[in-house]
Point group: C2
Chain length 281, copies 2
Amino acid sequence: MRCFVTGGAGFIGSAFVDRLLADGHAVTAYDNFSTGQREFLEGAARQAGFTLVEGDVLDGRRLTEAMAGHDLVLHLAANADVRFGLEHPRRDLDQNTIATFNVLEAMRATGARRIGFASTGSVYGEPTVFPTPESCPFPAQTSLYGASKLAGEGLIAAYCSGYGFQGSVFRFVSILGERYTHGHVFDFYKKLLADPRHVEVLGDGRQRKSYLHVQDCVDAVLSAMGKGADGFDVFNLGVDDYCTVDQSVRGLGWKPRLGIKESVIRTLEYLQANRWVMERR
Amino acid sequence: MRCFVTGGAGFIGSAFVDRLLADGHAVTAYDNFSTGQREFLEGAARQAGFTLVEGDVLDGRRLTEAMAGHDLVLHLAANADVRFGLEHPRRDLDQNTIATFNVLEAMRATGARRIGFASTGSVYGEPTVFPTPESCPFPAQTSLYGASKLAGEGLIAAYCSGYGFQGSVFRFVSILGERYTHGHVFDFYKKLLADPRHVEVLGDGRQRKSYLHVQDCVDAVLSAMGKGADGFDVFNLGVDDYCTVDQSVRGLGWKPRLGIKESVIRTLEYLQANRWVMERR
């Protein structure tokens, strides 16, 4: 297969690039390096089947040229930070909704018909049922980030219905692991490095949160997409330690290999060994 | 109250303009006249409290200038035609999603905090439950139109949550009545005028569809918004002849006055008396 990964130089994107190359596919990473890191693609760059295109998903023309000849698109490029939406409301609209439209239009122009999309559990707003099922009552959005991702999901569903695309939407929880570059664990570790005696915790510290290791995320997504489902599907991605659980992906035979504790430990080991990741941001 | 009506020269928008003026409010209609008609505002133009601004909702600067000093925004400007989405996929994104973002940003800049939004029952995709409740399971989008309106709803919900806006989303069924300018009844009437002996019916003619008279639509929306609910609410608008039914608006004491048959008859009487509407399109 010829795979096209938007945000391919990012924490999660580069994990997909490596795995797809290891599985023998040709892979193009498309990234504007706004948060992606060239170092994350050093291994990929040594392989014959790999192509890197530096470009922005908001540049529809460049995106379309780069996508020509691919079968499968993993659309991971995004503003992935749920914070700061209220300070920059246009950012989520541009980078998550309009960017997804551009990816779909590039697919339509080039003939690619299979898309996997990194959405978010944030589309559930403030859910009242845990674990939250994919079919839970129509939620009200509580963040611009969630709203912009839900809009992206809706576009993909409409393209599947109208143009015969095959779409798989994955509602991610927080992902941890090697190359992790932002989020709670990152922030805590950075603060503890600066002052090992104190760490500030927002709220009462009892907030519940689910994490998934990045390799389990890659497994789940490729396993779900490999089943060749027609049309449009939505999957929650998480572990059952807490929060949202993907019962559907489990129905396909997938189970996470790492629990939350192991994911946190592996992430911290990575950050410890790769201080440059923390210094660059 | 000072009310700002986007799409104020349209079929539904002009009905709101007339009613709000009759109720003693100051009203600004904002319209680009792409489908709006100057004739629909002839009565309004004779009243002191009325202002007309010719402008496009995609022109954020003009929109913001025009909105200054208003309390309530009724956002009705849209690509209201569910057809042709697949021929012009960018149209729904621009005119329904990005336009709604522009309206919200103009509100944020001018201090307006109360918004009513014309959404659509199409966000339910292919519902499996009739009448479809507002809280039905999270549906998959089946049209670019529905997807673009759902994206608008999500943006409004996020602005309510993040900036303290008050938002009321109304999922409209097809609306009929005076000044009706497009849709099935319009198309049938036009075809019958051209050839009274034959009329082409798509499908087997047994498709179920709900219609609401425009004056009942105005009643329902203003009744729901007048209850001064805080935060974010979603209402289905329809009659119980068929399809979606607004049980929530009924909970607020609203009932439609006209059934579907009466709405169709009134619409045909209007078209018969106003041939110019049909000739212009």
